[in-house]
Amino acid sequence: MTRSTAQPLIALLLRDLKRARRHGGQSLLPLVFLFSVVAMIPLGIGPGPNLLQAIAPGMIWVAALLSGLLALDGLFKSDFDDGTLEQWWVGEQPVVRLVMVKLCSHWLITALPVIALTPIAAQMLYLPNEALGLLLLTLLLGTPILSLVGGLASALTLGTRQGGALLGLLIFPLIVPVLIFSTGAVSAYLDGLPVRPYLLLLVALLVLAMSLVPLATAAALRLNIE
């Protein structure tokens, strides 16, 4: 990719990050959620380290999920409403690339803050250090899948067509396995069971999503623009 073709992509990424920083809340809200959960759970169920350990991965994953979902609404919608999106087909830039940039910025805005603060939350929930590494690995493998699948869902639901909401719903079940495998991996580790199968599954899902979803998303956007 030469400098001139990369420039629009970089511009798009930087603009999205700037707008996200300006709005802030979207990435702050899940963090607040994460920490209020971390602070509240010990109150609710007593501060037994074992129990907290068991819940930790689930809570952190829910925060990541939440973060991703909250920001999904505006992913393509705002560009669609104000006419930026249709410009994607005027230029020569392949739309798949633009889609990937969008997904990338979604991941940076929503998943990265949660991942960055995971070590602290894990500490507060008594997660052993080795398990923390594994948890981070599952987050790094799994959150991009969330962004990809979420992006596809929001592309499908973009138009005012009523079927959209339904299609979106069909997509969400795709996310549940990611959640289950990721938290499963950490529980397996804590129970002394092998974690490789879980990780391999996540990797497979990620590779699949990465190769298929951007194309599908671009096609969905195109259809919705008509």
Partner: protein, 203 residues
Amino acid sequence: MKPYLVASQVSFHRHSEAVFQPVDLNLLPAALCVVTGANGSGKTTLIRTLAGILPVSEGSLERNAAMAFIGHRPGIKDDLTCIENLSFMQRFYPSHPTREALGAHQALKQAGLGCHVRRLAGHLSAGQRRRLALARLLVSPADVWLLDEPYTSLDTAACQWVDGLLDHHLASHGAAIVTAHQRQPALTHTIDRLEVIAGARAT
């Protein structure tokens, strides 16, 4: 001279019916084509088809030039300032290498927004928004301009500014397709006209 755009019997179908009746068009350098037609006749649809946003349902379309399309909703972000919006456009929309491009600040000044540089686009008046949208033509120039009702909300001075832009663009071998209802372009160049007629179903 090779035409920038050749459309023959182009039409776009929605719900399996043509939105507008098939159009023939041959856009040469230095030509301006004004598209007219009643509300809902399909002018915007046609221009979006020509821009490549909508697929051609019938007929054939050949595009040999870099295009800039400015529609009713010109992609201005309300939560960015004027200069942030324009700098983004400058980098996002491809700029034709052989055409001269202005800096974002200069373009804003030309558009009469010199003292609103750091104002949020969401706080602009209707006419100022349109000026901002049109300023894009200065920062990332293209061969063919597709302008959907560029004169909307503009005052006399701004309309003349747009006329001047068009004149200059044509003089430097650019071409443009413009839709207009009330105010028509008043140029020194000759103008072609294209009347769009609604398709079968729409009345």
